[in-house]
Amino acid sequence: MIEGLLGGFGNLFEPFNFFILMVGVLLGFIGGGIPGISGTMLVIILLPVSYAMDPAAAFLLLTSIYATSVFSGSISAILFRTPGTPEAVATVFDGYPMAKKGEGGKALGISIFSSATGGVFGTLVLIFLTPLLASFALSFSSPEYFALALMGLTVVASLSAGNLVKGFIGVSFGLFIATIGIDTMTGVPRFTFGSGQLMSGIDFIPVLIGLFAISEVLRRVQQVHKVNTKQKVSSELPNWNVMKRISGVIGRSSLLGVFIGILPGIGATTAAMLSYSEAARWSKRSKEFGTGIPEGVAAPESANNAAAMGAMVPLLSLGIPGSATTAILLGAFILHGIQPGPLMFSTQGSLIYTILMGLLVANLMILLIAKPFISIFSKILLVPYTVIGPLIILFCIVGTFAVRNSIFDVAMMLVFGIIGYYLENAKFPLAPIVLGVVLGPIAEDQFRRAMQMSNNDISIFFTRPIALAFIILSIISILYPFINKWIKKRRNQGGGTDQTVAS
């Protein structure tokens, strides 16, 4: 293995390969930074271009775009509340409030540091633990997947502590949105009202952009915009104290991210969302989440980069893609006449190790290149909101349209913009809706498959140890806010009685 890695390192530093890697890193930054161009889209576009190159250069280009675009999606998420990529949606929750407080540079620095750490950690796992982790994920079946999705849903609902009812309404609304369209298992149209466009369902990108970006623009158009002061936004890497503060969060989120990334079908977006809520749940500052704290940026950013690398594990070891982009990478391998899978390490060892070393260097490059890149990218901040506002709307429209080339999606984005505006006015948490839409298809499909497996015997979820463990965790997370409230109430009552006695 060590020989393979050294060989890969040597291949990587061949001038042309290294040049291609740098091009990939920069393209990934730009692609991820601009809302509407996702890493997936860039990989698709450059696939035909890469066919002309030799496999090592081609896969260095595609995988480095994939690795770095996950990070750069956070730049516009922090600065403009518009996630550049879907993976950065959870970064908005604390990144944007930090930027609003004038801590944009700090938030970007935390994002750089967390992304690079998460990415490097994910790559190391990818290199050393591929066979072991892949075999664990392989043992998962429908009941386990459903239980995992359920846990994800209950986690975010309980995140809206104090607004538990609103959180659960949001989750059920999001899950319901995901059911619109042709049912994948029986082919029955659901809630389509005869519309051809609704047959393919409502994509989660218009929902996401509408709820978070359009609602914000609709709010800001009502405000008076002062001319921007010439504030220079440059990212500042976190100092020792902040690093110490977020190191635990980064460690936990990276682990969780890699684990989720390895599971096929659950990508970096879910990993970021889950790790955000886990960080909120276990933090001493759980109530401050959503107000702009470093942990809220560190958790999703380390998790999504780690998950992106984790998603490569089943691709390289088993030939099963773990996410949309890795599915395209699978296509790229086949296009180059290579079949990913267990045999790949013996037949294409040199290529695999070059890719692995390339991913490691690409993630380290985030630390080096992100800072100057952001200082150029953030010049946009000097432009007044009177210009930025219409441009954000334009990016939202193009970003939504680009997913399926559909004007209907643009209309959906607008509808969800209005919904998001009013829900936010009524202090409804928006994140549970997005999580419902993202996890909805997995939760429903796996639930129904599990029920088919067991002939409609619900005990299947309680007789399989991993599924049972996830379900117990879900129940705990639903009950935890209530128990916590009850304990506090009891304590206060106890305290009150003591005081009365003392007085």
Binding site: I169, L218, T386, P390, A411, L423, M451
Partner: protein, 168 residues
């Protein structure tokens, strides 16, 4: 609180309507768990929670009536910030019209006009600057998306279709 009450009523209507719809979804397999079961369960959950939310909102209203509405000052602050409430409806109208005409007049004409009007709505005083914003933003997106990235942007019909062929 009034908004919360209204929203919970809308949600009750929404979940009741789609609960009925879910129960009417065709069951092709004859299985107990059909295509309508999952959405029906979700709508029951949403209905119950919306009723709870409505009851809470009504209860809170009663308490406020007794105490003399403590939210008054907060509302006033909020109104101070959102000084142009009409612009919300105007921007929504512009976006709705933009979406409606996009397929007919194509990306170029719709976007130049759309961004021009939006820039004025956001507060650009000069018509020339607003128009320049529209033209430059449209030009930038055309170079980036349909030309460099081969995205098939809407071309419109008739003369707008011919116009689009000059650029992408």
């Amino acid at each position: 609180m009034q908004l919360e009450r209204n929203l919970s009523i809308i949600m009750i209507v929404f979940s009741s309507f789609f609960l009925v719809m879910s129960l009417q979804v065709e069951n092709r397999t004859g299985n107990i768990i059909s295509a309508g079961t999952w959405p029906a369960a979700l709508m029951i959950l949403m209905l119950v929670l919306s009723v709870i939310l409505l009851m809470r909102a009504l209860k809170a209203k009663d308490v406020q009536n007794i105490k003399g509405d403590p939210d008054d000052s907060a509302d006033a602050d909020n109104e101070d910030q959102l000084v142009h409430p009409k612009k919300f409806f105007l921007l929504f109208a512009v976006l709705a019209i933009y979406t409606l005409i996009l397929g007919y007049v194509g990306f170029i004409a719709a976007t130049i006009l759309g961004i021009f009007v939006m820039a004025l709505l956001f507060g650009i005083k000069s018509y020339i600057r607003a128009l320049l914003t529209g033209i430059l933003a449209t030009a930038g997106s055309i170079v980036l998306f349909p030309i460099l990235l081969n995205l098939p942007f809407p071309r419109g019909t008739g003369i707008f279709y011919t116009l689009s062929l000059l650029f992408y």
